[in-house]
Amino acid sequence: MSGGAQDGEEPSLKTRARCREALLFKAFHLLVDSWKPGEREQVELNRQLLRIVSESYFKDLERKKDFHGIRYADEHKRAGYMIKWIMRFRPIQMKSENCCVKALCANEHFALTVALRFLRLSPDVVPPSFYYNLVYSLRYRAIDANAWALSCFLIQQAYGSPRETTEGHRTP
């Protein structure tokens, strides 16, 4: 990760948060770019909320890493904590009062797309019915970052290739 740190020195939380914010900004536009014309105009990304998402993610994850003495979080925690903060602040806003379902569920879809990328899992290996249930859970159920980190671990175990799974580890 870029961020103005000296060799071996961890960039500050603020620097990492700004880098992640920029990354999420690009990811959002790459996601909606392939939406049909008429759909992508129904949503917009609120940059202020995205900044809060990014800073909250790092502050939250830093606490866990500090408590457990973890230097770098694994991909399941990254995915679980990012899901939590995207869903908490919902940075994608609707611009219409007659939106398509993809726009209505844009935050859930964005959170899952980012999470799958953290897991290095291609969306085409995930069954549509399961994805439907994941979106439902994000929309209607209470969200706990650690529970989602565990879910992400299990999703990777279920659908990842042997290289991507983490055989031998007992706990996520």
Binding site: A73, S122, P123, Y131, T171
Partner: protein, 60 residues
């Protein structure tokens, strides 16, 4: 019987809990790797969403 000094019975348990090993990564997050091929990833995610919600009245 309540021990006079409760702390004498605690350290081993506390240490065990705090020493619980979680999965972690041995490398920092790589922005370039994340964004590499993200366009294709996003396209597949959109296709997955379309299949998942085909014919659904979810959230309407």
């Amino acid at each position: 019987m309540v021990p006079e000094k409760r702390d004498e019975q605690l350290p081993e348990t506390v240490e065990t809990l705090l020493d619980w090993k979680l999965l972690n990564s041995d490398s920092p997050f790589d922005d370039a790797e994340f964004l590499g091929e993200f366009e294709s990833h996003a396209q597949k995610a959109n296709e997955l969403f379309e299949k998942a919600f085909a014919g659904s009245d979810f959230a309407q």
